[in-house]
């Protein structure tokens, strides 16, 4: 009877995990999703206490109380900017726990159970890699650990030796109490060698990958115990983690294999600098842009000639209205020479009934830009080119501009990467906070309106 109750609890916990993660992929439900996943976890933990023949309860409770205090304290006190480090640290702890379980369990495993033995070995290896890798990743983000070049072939050699050793331990047909620690040691070393050479700017992607690995160890540990909540929860994290890793790499305009195997060292600008030294601009899609804007306090739209060409003045007014309905303050930043004639933008926007008090002149707007969450540049180029301020060799040096790079985020809607009227490249497009949204202004704006509406 008690076993069935445990199974049902685990089943409910798994459902809560899935629903929780699902809800966490949308901003409105994300917090509730987190709570739902947490309630699933609490249920799973309670159910595990019902396991028949459980001893050492006092020790278990002491360990849990200590862990809870440590976890809550560090999560509450950490600086907002240091959160990725903390996540990496927690992830390493999960990996370590899985490896420790493997170590303890090895003593009880019959030597002729090759299947379970193999599962246990993979728990040990992956858990240890995840542990040491996460700690290095944390050190890198903190700036404590410097980038060191390590020959990746050497790293793979260490991993290969570890796997071979695991194979030997399995096939030896006798307990190997010493070799098992050597195996853990080798795996820990591989974790270090795996993360060491990867540039600090790429750490979020690496942490996501290590997180996925920890999920896999949770799953292999689940296989060891025929425990479905660990199996399911672990694989869920493992596969979601892999997908998330790919998505993150894509958002940074990098490929995962590029990050892991080819790029050594990093530049301060990180993602903004391409591998071959050529500048690469980052793209964003309509969905992500709409979320960025809908959760902003103030959005500033900077229209240019492109808006007029695309006849997108009505579409932009629609976007403004729908964002205002969501409680976002929307203003227009009007550069005196935006478009092909003075006042071009004012006329254009007046045509679609944009309230006049929303059109802010350049000087007033530049005061507001540092407190702006998102600037959306539509078909403007030279009037937002920071080279006018800081590059004396530029032909437009000295021209007053809208200093959009002082806002928190910049989205540039443009048809292509071509240069503006003055025929010069725009450094703004390559800044870390800038995202490019390619396409015809009218079409893109209509998509944005649709996305915001759906939220």
């Amino acid at each position: 009877m008690i076993l069935q109750i445990i199974d049902i609890c685990y089943l409910i916990a798994v459902v809560l995990f899935i629903v929780g993660i699902k809800m966490m992929s949308h901003p409105d439900s994300a917090r509730r999703g987190n709570s739902i996943a947490l309630s699933g976890m609490i249920l799973a933990i309670l159910a595990s206490f019902l396991t028949p023949g459980l001893d050492n309860l006092a020790l278990i409770l002491i360990a849990m109380v200590l862990g809870t205090i440590g976890g809550i304290y560090s999560a509450k006190t950490v600086q907002m900017t240091a959160m990725p480090q903390l996540v990496s640290f927690f992830n390493g702890m999960g990996g370590a726990a899985a490896a420790l379980i493997g170590l303890v369990e090895y003593g009880d495993l019959p030597v002729d159970d090759i299947g379970k033995g193999a599962v246990l070995m993979s728990s040990l290896i992956i858990g240890s890699v995840s542990f040491s890798g996460s700690l290095i990743a944390m050190g890198k983000l903190q700036g404590v650990v410097k980038d060191i070049q390590i020959n990746k072939i050497l790293g793979f050699a260490v991993l290969a030796i570890a796997v071979a050793l695991a194979g030997y331990i399995l096939s030896s047909g006798a307990p190997q109490p010493i070799l098992i620690y050597v195996l853990v040691l080798l795996s820990l070393i591989y974790g270090l060698m795996f993360v060491y050479p990867i540039g600090g700017a790429d750490m979020p992607v690496v942490i996501s990958l290590l997180n996925s690995l920890t999920g896999v160890t949770a799953a292999t540990t689940g296989l060891l115990y025929d425990n479905k909540v660990m199996l399911m929860g672990g694989i869920l994290v493992g596969s979601a983690g892999i997908l998330l890793t790919l998505l993150m790499a894509k958002a940074m305009n990098r490929s995962v294999s590029n990050i892991l195997f080819t790029s050594f060292g990093s530049s301060a600008g990180g993602a903004a600098a391409g591998v071959d030294g050529e500048q690469v601009a980052k793209e964003i899609n309509a969905y992500d842009s709409s979320i960025l804007m809908a959760y902003a306090k103030r959005v500033v739209i900077v229209p240019g000639y492109g808006l007029a060409v695309a006849q997108a003045q009505h579409a932009v007014h629609d976007l403004e209205k729908i964002l205002e309905e969501k409680g976002v303050e929307v203003l227009y930043g009007i550069h005196p020479v935006a478009g092909r004639m003075p006042g071009h933008m004012n006329v254009l926007l007046a045509e679609s009934d944009v309230p006049y008090d929303k059109l802010i002149e350049m000087d007033d707007m530049n005061e507001k830009l540092p407190n702006t969450d998102v600037v959306m540049v539509i078909g403007a180029n030279d009037v937002v080119n920071p080279a006018a301020n800081d590059d004396p060799s530029s032909p437009i040096y000295g021209m007053p501009i809208l200093e959009v790079n002082r806002a928190s985020n910049v989205i540039v809607i443009k048809r292509s990467m071509s240069s503006g009227y003055a025929g010069i490249q725009n450094a703004l497009f390559f800044e870390p906070k800038t995202r490019m949204l390619f396409g015809d202004a009218k079409k893109v704006l209509n998509e944005l309106v649709a996305e915001v509406k759906n939220m």
Binding site: S25, P84, A97, A98, I101, A118, L243, Y287, Y295
Partner: protein, 105 residues
Amino acid sequence: MEAIIEYISINQQELYIFILAIFVGVEVISKVPTVLHTPLMSGSNALSGVVIVGSIIVLGKTDPSNYLALSLGFLAVLLATLNVVGGFAVTNRMLEMFKKKPGKK
């Protein structure tokens, strides 16, 4: 080789779960906006702390006179708890920025 095939046939059910879970994992986060990448990573990190279930069982089944296994198990429970509790708490803090803006039209 025989051992592997035997293992597969004994654990068929687990393998089904394994494979289906991979698809579920990919499916549930297939459309996640960039701003949620970090919170979602943190949240799934907290979930990988489900290994705590295993650590509780392992410590609970350890012979109280085996001090080495006892201390390793103790450490496992402690670290897994850190992963779970800290993971959920830090995720919650990250997600506070998505709270509804109060009283603003």
